[in-house]
């Protein structure tokens, strides 16, 4: 499914470049008259103005001309890449390319270092973006950063982490032990899931809320302040059931557990269609009631990389 990140629209002039990337080849225009290499693609040589050009494959070896690490995303949609490692790479042929660095820690990045290309499938339509990594980096030359692929990878990670956690058992009627679970610190992040347009459409049908900002990508691209459609807050709220948070405790001994609803439900940040979301929780309060033990679990769902939560849900659970 799509993402709200801007994607290239190949033209008749540039299509061979993008087609080449899909095949894992970096091709750029070369001037047959003066030997100059040309980037970005044009119909003429920007040195001698000849139109006698040819597409030639190059290795993609180059040096890092400059870079920056962003501490504020350049668009909210890039929050999942924070810090963005924006870079300018100068190929050995002399042309410079705007790109991003992948598979590198901040401290490894140095102006002048040798780099090599990484072909990144960034969109489910098969669009491949040209990224770079350190020449001596043992990093795959082909990666898949589509939201679906990243979410799948996160699920495997989260499952492994959950399996590694040893859960303490806490009896629901042990008031002191239950109250000791209250914490200001959140759990680790859950697995990630992609909130794509298909899911949003299904929810619109189910709930009857088919407002255009959720369901009409074309209109939303033109008119929505978010550059595209966004998920219903209520959809993101219920998706908390699909986000598995690995807790280090397990409440036991009760006969029945009742979801009492929510003390607080807020949707502070939008979830653009195509975003990945994940959640984390903390026990906010425990109270002994005549009917049983009531626990308030704060569940916060974020778009991956966004500091602002998209859903804050103080879920009230009664153990009886």
């Amino acid at each position: 499914m799509s993402t709200n990140k801007p994607m290239p629209m190949p033209t008749a002039i540039s299509a061979p470049f993008w087609d080449g990337l899909k095949e894992g080849r970096l091709t750029i225009p070369h001037c047959k008259s003066c030997g100059h290499w040309i980037f970005f693609p044009r119909r003429h040589c920007d040195k001698c103005w000849s139109q006698d050009l040819e597409w030639k494959e190059v290795k993609g070896a180059g040096t890092l001309y400059t870079y920056t690490l962003t501490r504020v995303p350049t668009l909210p949609d890039f929050a999942d890449e924070m810090p963005q490692k924006l870079a300018v790479v100068e190929l050995d042929e002399g042309v410079r390319i705007n790109t991003t660095l992948v598979g590198m820690d901040e401290s490894e990045i140095k102006v002048g270092m040798r780099v090599k290309p990484v072909f990144d499938t960034a969109h489910s339509d098969g669009t491949v973006l040209l990224r770079f990594t350190a020449a001596d980096n043992d990093f795959p030359a082909h990666i898949d950063s589509t939201p679906a692929a990243l979410a799948a990878a996160s699920a495997a990670q989260a499952d492994a982490a959950a399996a590694a956690v040893s859960k303490r058992q806490v009896r629901f009627d042990d008031e002191a032990a239950m109250k000791a679970l209250v914490s200001d610190t959140y759990s680790d992040w859950s697995n990630q899931i992609v909130v794509d347009q298909e899911l949003i459409n299904e929810f619109a049908q189910l709930s009857g809320d088919d407002y255009w900002i959720h369901t009409d990508p074309e209109r939303a691209r033109a008119q929505s302040p978010f550059g595209g459609t966004i998920a219903h807050g209520a959809l993101v709220q219920v998706l908390q059931s699909r986000l598995r948070v690995a807790l280090d405790f397990e409440v036991v001994g009760f006969n029945n557990m009742v979801n009492y609803g929510s003390d607080r439900l807020r949707f502070p940040a939008p979830v653009p269609a195509g975003s990945r979301i994940h959640a984390r929780t903390r026990v906010k309060a425990v109270e002994k009631l005549p009917k049983g033990m009531q626990m308030t679990l704060e569940i916060v769902t974020h778009v991956v990389g966004n500091e602002r939560p998209s859903v804050i849900n103080d879920l009230v659970i009664l153990y009886m």
């Binding site: 290239p8 970005f40 962003t70 350049t74 390319i97 102006v111 990224r131």
Partner: protein, 403 residues
């Protein structure tokens, strides 16, 4: 070659910078008329003296094309010269020399240069979120076939911050980097703003620690090294010698100018850290027939601290690569040995969109005319002004000298 210095800035007006949320909303035509009236009153001239106009065309609210004709009609002016300038932050400097050139060519006698930068009122059916939509890609084109839409935006290369940050990183790798010197640029300018009641940050002192402790936006740029966007707007009147003789201010004659551009994204510059102000300044100084050391104040376009540093070097005030040391060794305040951005610069005055660069032109005029209030320099006959648009993409230089 070039100007003889027969045209001068004789009047100016600019809105006090304000937050967009609280500034009055006015149609751009209304702002143009209001600013023109104020600038004329400042000059002591009449509307009938104006027979030329240079106006900011991009983002003009009431029209995308035919802006000068619409503005002339609205104002009730009869013009012998009119044009639109589309050079981003370089536009103010670019407008002034175009006006001076038109006057020296004999096309006209007095030119209104004007940039409205307050928001226009929303139409009854207009969605208030239009601004957020319009700002999503900043100054970047998303049009089909626009190189930046295809080769920059998909990678997250957008906005000005990261472009300037990457220039700073390249500079650091080649010449070294001193965050304290960079912070000092902002701090010295703040000292100037403390003597300018119109500045956004008047009455708000700033220390080097404040700058270095402020949020990092894109390495190595802190938020206090980046201009704050504000609502505003500005106009100046450039007039012939004959008209200037009737004006009530000492004129600031345009004796030299230069302009240079060759790329939009600095990625495609021959050398990212040798900026277009180099050739522009060389031309301006040669035209005016003066030396760098003749300059008594420099009003340097300052969207970022790195813009100032590179301009000081590439315009020839400081040897290449020595800017950081030089900044630490000199006092850039209005009391100092190298008075620079004496109104506070846009970093402390506020950046009112494209008209932000006009604050530098107007400060130069006010200093030459002896009207700079508390921060008035004792001797100020020769001022260098720079303008910078895009990401060091388009730069211009002016030499202004007292009549």
């Amino acid at each position: 070659m070039g100007l003889k210095g027969n045209a001068a800035i004789v009047g100016a007006a600019q809105y006090k910078p304000e937050k967009y949320s609280t500034a009055p909303q006015m149609f751009h035509l209304e702002q143009v008329a209001d600013l023109a009236g104020r600038a004329l009153a400042d000059a002591g001239l009449k509307a009938s003296d104006i027979d030329g106009m240079v106006i900011h065309g991009p983002q003009f609210h009431e029209a995308q094309v035919f802006v000068p004709a619409m503005a002339a009609e609205y104002l009730g002016l009869s013009l012998n010269f009119a044009e639109v300038v589309d050079l981003g932050g370089c536009s103010s400097v670019a407008m002034v020399w175009r006006a001076a050139a038109a006057i020296e060519l004999g096309l006209c006698q007095a030119v209104l240069c004007v940039i409205p930068s307050r928001m226009a009122p929303l139409a009854p059916n207009e969605d208030p979120s239009w601004m957020a939509r319009a700002m999503r890609f900043g100054g970047h084109s998303t049009a089909f076939g626009a190189p930046e839409a295809e080769f920059d935006l998909p990678y997250g290369h957008l906005g000005q911050n990261t472009g300037y940050a990457m220039i700073a990183q390249r500079y650091a790798a080649q010449y070294g980097y001193d965050p304290v010197a960079m912070a000092k640029i902002a701090v010295d300018q703040r000292t100037n703003a403390l003597a300018n009641p119109d500045a956004s940050f008047f009455g708000k002192p700033l220390t080097i620690e404040d700058v270095l402790n402020s949020k990092m936006v894109a390495d190595p740029l802190h938020v206090l090294e980046i201009v704050m966007p504000v609502a505003g707007g500005a106009a100046v009147i450039v007039a012939s010698k004959e008209v200037a003789a009737r004006a009530r201010n000492r004129g600031a004659c345009v004796t030299g100018f230069g302009e240079h551009l060759s790329f939009k994204s600095p990625t495609y510059a021959d050398d990212m850290v040798h900026t277009p102000i180099g050739p522009a300044a060389d031309r301006a100084f040669a035209m005016a027939g003066i030396k760098r050391s003749d300059v008594q104040a420099a009003q340097i376009y300052d969207c970022y601290t790195i813009t100032v540093l590179l301009t000081l070097e590439d315009a020839g005030f400081v040897p290449k690569g020595e800017g950081m040391r030089w900044v630490r060794e000199h006092d850039l305040t209005w009391r100092g040995d190298f008075p620079m951005n004496t109104h506070g610069g846009q970093l402390s005055f506020g950046q009112s969109g494209t008209s932000g660069g006009m604050s530098q032109v107007i400060e130069a005029f006010h200093q030459i005319a002896g009207r700079a209030g508390e921060r008035q320099l004792k001797d100020c006959d020769t001022v260098f002004v720079s303008g910078t648009g895009g990401v060091m993409s388009e730069q211009g230089a002016l030499i202004l000298q007292g009549a």
